[in-house]
Structure formats: structure tokens, C-alpha cells
């Protein structure tokens, strides 16, 4: 049954239905509402534990502790808050601790801006955490539930990106899986590797040079093979709940016969689909490839989808200052081995809340036809 409610509340309800053991949050716009609702569930006895931390670095530390103790752990943050977790994200991933961090994506200071872009989570792409970006609030709800399951299956943290304000503050009719259904999909977390006085273990040992690289290599390998887990969990979810998002890693929208393709993530990808629809009506062979899972990066799926296309553009809300945009760079590398490598363009926009309109995206498709283009839009 659908309820009309704010994306943040919907995600909070989904999280509640996943029955986490510990939620630890610190307020920051635009993700605050999620934490607020979790704290309300706690005040009503519907959530086991809610920690009002004194800073985000302690939120993630609490998650590290809770996950190490075998619990299901969740935090919510944005922007400066995620940045404040930077050191801890590498650590949580390296310690192989499952947890979910919902990020209401927002730009990074300076200048301070409370509005949406992806720089906050994109800047954590090396960390070993998985990264998902929801196109809409229904997907955010569904991803929250999937992300717990994936994270606990592969023993790595998951970041779930929701476009700040666009998703977090939108009120719309949404379907929130019932707790009984969620329980079937996502059983209680069982972990053999945990802090347990009956079965002691030392977690977080340090590694001499003869060991360190091996740990990193393993982490990378496990992240790569998480792609299979992500697809499987996505399929399971689709089977039980009837909602599907591409193949779990990417979503192809009218790409099969398309000559020109725009790649994007999050809500911008939805707007790109609208743009593509309008152009299709006008007879243009255009499509959209949405990256749903940014880490691990689905390079094979992307290369396959793009092989032989005439022109491809990546539209993203982030930059690697003094170099090239991150998603574009990843895609560029992924398609090196295409039999017929498409011409690849890069568009950066929507930073700090600059609204990404369907019209502006239509223009980008036009640019693809004219050859390679690298632009701020």
C-alpha cells in the first residue's frame, strides 16, 4: 500500500523495518530528517538504540563498534559530515565491517552550500565502501533494504546516496515494504567474526609490509566480486517485492538501438530519461545509461552497453579539481577495450544545487552529435 510521505521519512521507515541494532546520527542538512525520524522511532520503542553523537566521526565510530559487536548498524549524513568520516570509512572497509551510511548528497565547502551534488560521496570512492545512488525515492527505500543485505553478505560498508532535497525532501506516494516482508528478505545479522567474550578475537590488528598489500588486494577482490552479490540481491528483491532497477549495477534505458547515450546517476538520470523520451519522440536514437552502483564500478557492464555507440556523454555532479571529472574518468577507462570505442564527452553540472533540467540535458544530447565535448553545464 502506498503512502504519500517525504523521501527521508520513507527511508527512515524502511530502515526501521530492517531492525537495526544501533543507529548513530548527527544532524546535517539535507539528510537530518532521516535521523530525526529514527530518533522518534526510538522514543516510541520501535528502534533498539539511537545514539545522538557529538560529531559524525563518532557516528561512524559507533557503527564500527556496533558492527564489530555483531550488530546491524546505520548512520545518516551529508557533505561535511561524510567528509568528517573520511578516515573512518577507509578503516571500516579495511576492517571488513558491514554497515549502512545513508548520504543525502550535498556539495562540499568552501563555499558552504547546503544543496545537492555528489562531491561528498564521490570523494570517498577509494575507501573500499560500496556506493549506490538512487534515482528516486522508491529506489532509495528499496536500496536501503538491499544495501543492508549486500553489506552483510560481503562484509563491507555501503553508502546509499540520495540527492539532497530532490530526494530527501520530496513528498510523494511510496510503497514501504512491511516489516514482516523485510524480515523474510533480510534475516537477523549473523556474524561469526565478532567481539564475543565466549569466543575472543582481536580485531583491527596492524600489518607489517609483508602483510599489508595482501589485505588491500583482498579487499579490492572482494569488492569486485560484490558485483555478483549486488545483482543477486537485486534479483531476489525484485522477485519478492516486484520492483527492479536495471540489472542492479546499471540500468539501461533505450540503449539497445541508441546511437547516443548519456550516462548519469541519481535523480539526474531520471531527468535524462525524460530528455531522451522527448528526443525519441522527435525521432532521435538516444538512450540513457544509469550507474546505480558506482563502487564497485561496473566497468564490464558499461563497456558492453557502450560498445559501438557513436557518442557517449557522462553527466556528473562532481569534479576532481585540476584534473577530469571522476565518473567520466572511470567510464573513459572502462571503454578502452571496447571493440569500437565511442566518442566520449564529459559534462559537469548541478554543483551546489544548480538545477539540472530536462531541457539542459536535451542540449547535451545535441552536443554529443557534434563530437567530443568537455564542458561545465
Amino acid at each position: 500500500m502506498k503512502k504519500t510521505l517525504e523521501g527521508s521519512i520513507a527511508v527512515a521507515e524502511a530502515i526501521k523495518n530492517c531492525e537495526p541494532d544501533v543507529a548513530a546520527c548527527y544532524p546535517i542538512t539535507p539528510s537530518t530528517h532521516i535521523g530525526e525520524h529514527l530518533s522518534e522511532f526510538f522514543a516510541n520503542g520501535e528502534l533498539k538504540s539511537y545514539v545522538n553523537t557529538e560529531a559524525e566521526i563518532s557516528s561512524i565510530a559507533a557503527l564500527i563498534g556496533a558492527s564489530a559487536a555483531g550488530g546491524r548498524a546505520i548512520s545518516v549524513t551529508s557533505s561535511q559530515g561524510l567528509a568528517y568520516m573520511h578516515e573512518s570509512l577507509f578503516c571500516a572497509a579495511g576492517m571488513r565491517l558491514p554497515m549502512l551510511i545513508v548520504v543525502g548528497n550535498r556539495s562540499l565547502s568552501a563555499p558552504l552550500s547546503i544543496w545537492n551534488d555528489w562531491q561528498d560521496s564521490i570523494a570517498e570512492r577509494d575507501s573500499g565502501c560500496m556506493q549506490f545512488y538512487a534515482e528516486n525515492n522508491q529506489e532509495a527505500v528499496d536500496l536501503a533494504i538491499q544495501a543492508f543485505k549486500i553489506s552483510e553478505a560481503v562484509n563491507l560498508p555501503a553508502i546509499l546516496g540520495m540527492d539532497g532535497f530532490y530526494l530527501t525532501h520530496s513528498v510523494e506516494p511510496l510503497d514501504i515494504p512491511e516489516i514482516t516482508e523485510v524480515q523474510k528478505f533480510l534475516p537477523k545479522r549473523v556474524s561469526a567474526v565478532k567481539l564475543d567474550t565466549k569466543n575472543p578475537l582481536t580485531m583491527g590488528a596492524y600489518a607489517f609490509p609483508q602483510y599489508y598489500q595482501g589485505f588491500r588486494q583482498d579487499l579490492h577482490k572482494d569488492l569486485l566480486s560484490a558485483k555478483t552479490t549486488i545483482k543477486n540481491v537485486h534479483n531476489e528483491f525484485a522477485k519478492q517485492f516486484g520492483r527492479k532497477y536495471g540489472n542492479g549495477l546499471i540500468e539501461e534505458y533505450n540503449t539497445k538501438d541508441a546511437e547516443y547515450i548519456l550516462i548519469s546517476m541519481g535523480s539526474a538520470a531520471g531527468n535524462a530519461k525524460d530528455a531522451a523520451d522527448e528526443l525519441r519522440t522527435a525521432g532521435e536514437k538516444v538512450g540513457v545509461l544509469r550507474i546505480r552502483c558506482y563502487r564497485p564500478f561496473p566497468s564490464e557492464d558499461i563497456a558492453k552497453a557502450l560498445d559501438g555507440k557513436k557518442g557517449v556523454g557522462v553527466f556528473e555532479k562532481a569534479y576532481s579539481m585540476g584534473a577530469v571529472p571522476p565518473v567520466y574518468a572511470d567510464v573513459s577507462e572502462a571503454i578502452t577495450n571496447c571493440k569500437s570505442r565511442p566518442q566520449l564527452s564529459s559534462f559537469v553540472g548541478g554543483l551546489g544545487g544548480k538545477d539540472v533540467t530536462v531541457d539542459s540535458l536535451k542540449i547535451l544530447f545535441g552536443k554529443l552529435k557534434k563530437g567530443v565535448c568537455k564542458e561545465w553545464v
Binding site: S49, V51, S58, G65, A66, A69, T197, A205, Y206
Partner: protein, 302 residues
């Protein structure tokens, strides 16, 4: 007198076997910190989870693939132990475990400085944690840099003795008092040389709920620069000279748990330590004066 620093044979019974900190750790010869940890775990028992901050205590105990800890143990970062412990204890309680003690073991750097924000937060929330700071009065793991716990005038690599500055400038941060000011149920200082006192404090803390803090002086062989044999002796002299007071604060009330009747001259404590070698007689006299004013205990007549 069979007692040194108030330590009697009786109290030591049953300690000899099955320490929860195994030998083979790689602390410097003579480091008293493993002794402190051992006695902490001895009182708290097996139903204890250790949360450790990056520090000497971590480096000497948990080098992959080996560990000296026999209880469950977690180390993640330098500055976050109070919050990690928060997560551990919250998860335990959420999962129905209402008995396991969560104990933080951290150095003075983690406690007084980089981790103090997180600690203050955990104190404010009154998390159900025992926090043990082994206070060697500097960042030892990185090679003896000044911390807020370094006593005034002591030389470290970042409070050096130069032509303009003569060792550490600021006073030692009064951590036990600051923690008590947070309103936590228990805040105390201790010395391993006064083992019954230390253990009584641990037992007291163990019986309570909420955030409990104990700051234990922990001499450091290379950091303070002394003959390793006198680690315990220094822990004792610190108390006997009034450099380190033994007290506890409950409900805002301070109680001295041991107070020497007369103080030994502070030189006895300072002189064996290289970190104080540069002190002039006037400086030592100044320290002595400060102690006498602060403690209001008379100096031992010699």
C-alpha cells in the same frame, strides 16, 4: 615493613596464572603499561571487551597475525575509542547482553588530546564504559612528543629545551577534574605502585554503571629516560613526592584515597629522569613549592 607503597602480599594472591594479557607482547623492557592492563583485566574478568586506541599499548599487543589480548579486542583509530566503545556497548545491550563490560584502554594522547572530543561526547551521554588512561605523559608511540598530560618543564621532542624555551610551557591538563566536571559517576587517578588502591578503584568502577574514568600514571623507559628497573619505583615516588595525587571524584566530591603524611623531596622523582635533566635548581625548587602549595602536605624532614 613488608609493604612498599601500600602493597601487601595478600592482595597479590591468585594473580599469577592465566593473565588476560599474554606474554610475548613487544613493549620495551620495563614498561609498566602491560602491568596496568593486566591488573585491569584481572579485576574486570573475562566478560570484558577491550577497545584500544592507537598507541604503544596497541602496537605492542596486536601485530598481525598475533595478539597479546585474550579478551575480545578492537582497535580502529587513534581519536575515536569512546565512540567505538559506545557502539559496542549499545549493540551488546540492543542484542540483549546486559553484562559484558566494555573497557577502553588508551594513552594520554588519545585521552587528553585527540580523542577528547569523542570522550566528552561519551561522558555527556554517560555511556556504560570504563575508561582507563595509562598516562605516560607524552606521545610515546611516535617517539615522545608533548601531550597535554606532559608535566610543565618536561622535555619532549616537541617541548624541547632551547635558548628561548625550557621544556613544556603549559601545566598538565587536569583531566580527572575535567571529566568529573562532566558529571560522570566516577573519575579517579591511580598508580600501579599502589596496587590495592588501584584495584579497589577498579572494583568500585566495575560495580557502577555509566561512564567511569581512571587515569593511571605509567612511566615510560625511553620517553622519560630512566633505568627500566625503576618503573614501579617511579610510580611510587610520584605519589610520595606529591607529583601524582591519588584521589577519586564521585558526585562532584573529591576524596583523597591515599595521602602521604609527609612528602619526599621532588628531586627524588625528577633526578632519575632524563626528561627533567635540564632543570635548574631554581626550577626544581619552583616545582617543589608548587607541590607544597597544592597538596598542603609538609615536606619530609630529613
Amino acid at each position: 615493613m613488608g609493604l612498599k607503597g601500600g602493597l601487601g602480599a595478600r592482595e597479590l594472591g591468585g594473580l599469577e596464572h592465566n593473565y588476560l594479557l599474554a606474554p610475548g607482547h613487544t613493549a620495551c623492557a620495563g614498561c609498566p603499561m602491560p602491568v596496568i592492563i593486566r591488573h585491569v583485566l584481572d579485576v574486570l574478568g573475562k566478560d570484558t571487551i577491550v577497545v584500544n586506541a592507537t598507541s604503544c599499548s596497541e602496537i605492542i599487543s596486536s601485530q598481525y597475525p598475533r595478539s597479546a589480548f585474550k579478551t575480545p579486542y578492537i582497535h580502529s583509530l587513534f581519536e575515536n575509542t569512546p565512540a567505538v566503545a559506545t557502539g559496542v556497548v549499545r549493540a551488546l545491550r540492543a542484542m540483549g547482553n546486559d553484562h559484558t563490560q566494555v573497557v577502553i584502554i588508551a594513552g594520554d594522547g588519545a585521552t587528553y588530546d585527540i580523542g577528547f572530543g569523542a570522550m566528552s561526547g561519551a561522558m555527556e551521554r554517560n555511556e556504560d564504559i570504563i575508561y582507563i588512561c595509562y598516562d605516560n605523559e607524552a606521545y610515546m608511540n611516535t617517539g615522545v612528543q608533548r601531550s597535554s598530560a606532559t608535566p610543565p618543564l618536561a622535555k619532549t621532542t616537541t617541548s624541547p629545551v632551547g635558548s628561548k624555551i625550557h621544556g613544556k610551557v603549559m601545566p598538565k591538563k587536569p583531566i580527572v577534574e575535567i571529566c568529573a566536571a562532566h558529571g560522570i559517576p566516577y573519575s579517579a587517578s591511580a598508580s600501579i605502585a599502589y596496587l590495592p588502591d588501584f584495584k579497589a578503584k577498579l572494583e568500585k568502577a566495575k560495580a557502577m554503571k555509566g561512564f567511569r574514568f581512571i587515569d593511571v600514571i605509567s612511566p615510560c623507559v625511553p620517553g622519560w629516560g630512566y633505568d627500566p628497573a625503576i618503573s614501579i619505583e617511579l610510580s611510587r615516588l610520584a605519589v610520595e613526592t606529591g607529583m601524582w595525587e591519588l584521589f577519586e571524584i564521585e558526585n562532584g566530591k573529591r576524596k583523597d584515597t591515599f595521602k602521604p603524611g609527609q612528602l619526599k623531596p621532588v628531586g627524588l622523582y625528577l633526578k632519575p629522569q632524563k626528561r627533567f635533566k635540564h632543570l635548574s635548581d631554581a626550577e626544581i625548587a619552583g616545582i617543589q613549592k608548587g607541590i607544597l602549595e597544592r597538596t598542603k602536605i609538609p615536606l619530609l624532614k630529613s
